[in-house]
Amino acid sequence: MLSETSKRELVAVVGGRAAWTDPADLALYAYDATHYTRTPAIVLAPACTAEVAAIMTIASRERVPVVARGAGTSLSGSATPAEGGIVISTARLNRILAIDAASMSATVEPGVVAADFMRAVESQGLFYPPDPSSQSVSTLGGNVAQGAGGPRGAKYGTTKDYVVGLEAVLADGTVLHCSVDDDYDLIHLLVGSEGTLAVITKITVRLLPLPEAKQTALAIFDSFEAAAEAVAAIIAAKIIPTTLELMDNFVVRKVQSYRPVGLPEDAEGVLLMEVDGYGAEVAEQVEEIAAIAKRCGASTVKVARNRAENDDLWAARRAAYAALARSRPTAVAEDATVPRSQLPAIVRTIKHLAEKYKLEVPVLAHAGDGNTHPIVLCDWRDGDEMARVERFAGELFRATVEMGGTLSGEHGIGLVKQGYMEWQHGAEGIAAMRRVKQAFDPNDLLNPGKVLPT
């Protein structure tokens, strides 16, 4: 428990206008994008690394848990506070410190919104590829903590492939500087550690030159299997598109009823494909993938000829999550990821399990890297239904791991999947991860009870 004296001490660190203890304010920070709710004792918005360090020093002295928070869009519960703990909001750590075109890198504070950063680097002809769907609100600190990915992952990888330097505050208030020259790769221990090892205060990422051109095509299939086959055929042709987004019939119908985008209601599989690179190369590749889609049985293939057509083709995919989320009170977004060739098998498993547990589960997938997003539509107030969701998830994860896949491609483990961790990593793997946690945070103060099984 945080004493009143300690609370006053914490408020003094950041100033009264950057600290909140009123129950109405605390309620705003009690949740993330999952359905978990835990109320913190205090929310603090430090403005510099020294303030974060001062907060951690007090927290560690008082043995009070701390959860760092960006925009709170976590889909795995990682940003859910600790009950009665401290929330460190990165809202005021929101400066882009440097964009260096010569060394093709940038340094930012963790509270910078991902999309703002992407626009800033693009205005200088540079490119930061990780593109989580939450990019217009989610922060880079959150993206780094979760190892966020996105549709471009197939070609460009995820956040972990871009972080080249970090500054972070350890549980005891020590400031840690990690670089690629360290004895051990601390950077990649922190990326994806979901705030359980340190509080990230500065991030250096590498950048790429902005591709000269990109082009989009959309293919409509009468069978989902044929769409999945087209994905395999494109990869077999040695083309790695930027994006290969797959939507099933369920998604198509929900999107059409939410915002008609001209997709046929009986489309069983829709594949949204984007390639980028040099102009001539892109023109050639987009025709090539369109031809492959047709060969694999697509009934319609549309290739965007200009930016407006490009946006049209993306409209369905962009509307998908909103269309699904509004149809039921709760949408549980899973992100089971399998080797690319197992995509048809895992989708069959999802359909089978949905039927078995009488659940509505539309499927979106970043097909190019085997990352599925079954969206389980449910109602968190319905205990029986939520129990079925839990059993559905358990069986799905079992199948995922058996196919050589991972519990999470890009959302993280958080509170949602920690119970399944041992299936993937084994008792020895979990024990090894505990050694890491112990080395960083021996008193278990940072985002306690997440990631590792409790």
Binding site: A102, S103, M104, Q146, G149, A154, T158, K160, D161, T174, L176, H177, D181, D182, D183, Y184, D185, H188, G192, L197, L208, E212, A232, I235, A236, K238, I239, G277, Y278, G279, A280, E281, E284, T337, P339, S341, D369, G370, N371, G404, T406, S408, G409, E410, H411, I413, K417, M421, Q424, H425, G426, E428, G429, A432, M433, R435, V436, Q438, A439, F440
Partner: protein
């Protein structure tokens, strides 16, 4: 000294082909000072390696994991250490052309693996200087990289998962057979590059790329090394990421069989790869970026030959210099007491190599003088001003957490202070 009982046990476990006595070890892998391990263990199966580690760590004996031994010329064995070698763990388990992945044992040669992969139209980019002799396990241990690092990264960027043994023989699996993975702490990237101080790999799951359909090497003439580097910067500033980018002084160019001509005294080699239209587009951009400077293309075979000779050229001294610091670094080169035979500056690897020619004692002395003269220039090039104290302390804690008895590679001191 390992005692007779342990020696007998290890010998019984591994057989004559898997257990080299102290005598045989000397011939196999003595260090530069002539010290050699007490024995060399060469397991053929992961289970044998696990058993051997259990025995060694149980007996309090120190173990040095080793691939082909190409990376550590400075290696020195601690008194009484054993070498755990990977060269009989050398199977290529799987080359999955559908998922663009491969599963290999650590003792498989990097070059042999790359040849097998390319035969399938696939590509495993890491190209460290010792690629011809290195093993995949060794390359992963040091997170090897070469001239392709700028565009393609290092070994770490291609390891999806590991099967590894901790110091006490515990078997562990990390990562997954997927390109994306956000499940728990990234032990894979912790172990790759840990130089054998945290675990011994028994299997690596690697990611592959499609082999680029086209490659083109351009030769751009510069007035001198600084001029060639400025041209390289102009190419980068035009939004290009060449596959390899290397500035050669006049002498280095000649050593490679290239003719730098009379007036120009340095050459810039610029390799572009990708689809055929992408290579054409990049070539055009390079020509525009360097303005009036003369640009030639090297014929495919000659290009391959030049790159291969360049990669394998014996460098007496190698300095790690990040690309953005390269120009400043060469500003101070006039300080060199003995001019090297040639200098090659890989902008794409962030590495400068001083070529003196091998085996000549005068050259060795010149190299030593060069190292001394360069020290002030290279110090702090990479880290900047950041305080690394906390990072070093954490490394020490991680080492203690994974290997509390200090079994693995005790000779390689971490830079950190003890807690």
């Amino acid at each position: 000294m390992i005692d007779q009982r342990l020696a007998t046990e290890l010998n019984g476990l591994l057989g004559t082909r898997g257990f080299l006595s102290a005598e045989a070890s000397r011939a196999d892998c003595a260090d530069r000072q002539g010290r050699s391990p007490e024995a060399v263990l060469l397991p053929e199966l992961p289970s044998e390696a696990a058993h051997a580690l259990r025995l060694a760590s149980g007996a309090g004996v120190q173990v040095v994991p080793r691939g082909a031994g190409t990376s550590w010329p400075q290696l020195a064995y601690a008194e009484g250490a054993l070498v755990l070698g990977s060269r009989r763990l050398c199977r290529l388990w799987e080359l999955d052309t559908e998922n663009l992945t491969a599963s290999v044992e650590p003792g498989l040669g990097l070059a042999a693996f790359q040849a097998a992969v390319e035969q399938q139209g696939l590509f495993f980019p890491p190209d460290p200087p010792n690629a011809a002799t290195a093993t995949l396990g060794g390359a992963a241990g040091v997170d090897a990289r070469g001239p392709r690092a700028l565009k393609y990264g290092s070994v770490k960027d291609y390891v999806l998962g590991l099967e590894a043994l901790l110091a006490d023989g515990t078997r562990l699996q990390t990562g997954a057979n997927t390109v994306k993975n956000a499940s728990g702490y990234d032990l894979t990237r912790l172990f790759v590059g840990a130089r054998g101080t945290l675990c011994f790999y028994t299997r690596l799951r690697l990611r592959l790329l499609p082999l680029p359909a086209a490659r083109e090497t351009l030769v751009v003439s510069g007035d001198d090394l600084a001029g060639a580097i400025a041209l390289a910067e102009a190419i980068m500033a035009a939004g290009l990421v060449p596959a390899r980018l290397e500035a050669l002084d006049c002498a280095a160019a000649r050593l490679l069989g290239l003719d730098p001509g009379q007036a120009p005294r340095a050459l810039l080699l610029c390799e572009l790869d990708g689809s055929a239209p992408a290579v054409a587009a990049q070539t055009e951009r390079v020509r525009r970026a360097v303005g009036n400077t003369e640009v030639d293309g090297l014929a495919g075979e000659q290009a391959a030959e030049v790159w291969s000779r360049l990669t394998g050229w014996p460098a007496v001294y190698t300095a790690e210099v990040p690309r953005p610091r390269m120009a400043a670094f060469f500003g101070g080169l006039s300080l060199l007491p003995t001019p090297p035979l040639g200098v090659s500056a890989s902008l794409s690897a962030g590495r400068v190599r001083f070529l003196y020619g091998a085996g000549n004692s005068n050259h060795e002395a010149a190299a030593a003088a060069t190292v001394a003269a360069l020290r002030p220039l290279t110090a702090g090039l990479n880290g900047g001003q950041a305080d690394g104290t906390a990072a070093r302390l954490l490394a020490t804690r991680l080492k203690a957490a994974f290997d509390p008895r200090g079994t693995l590679v005790p000779h390689m001191a971490l830079t950190g202070a003890t807690e």
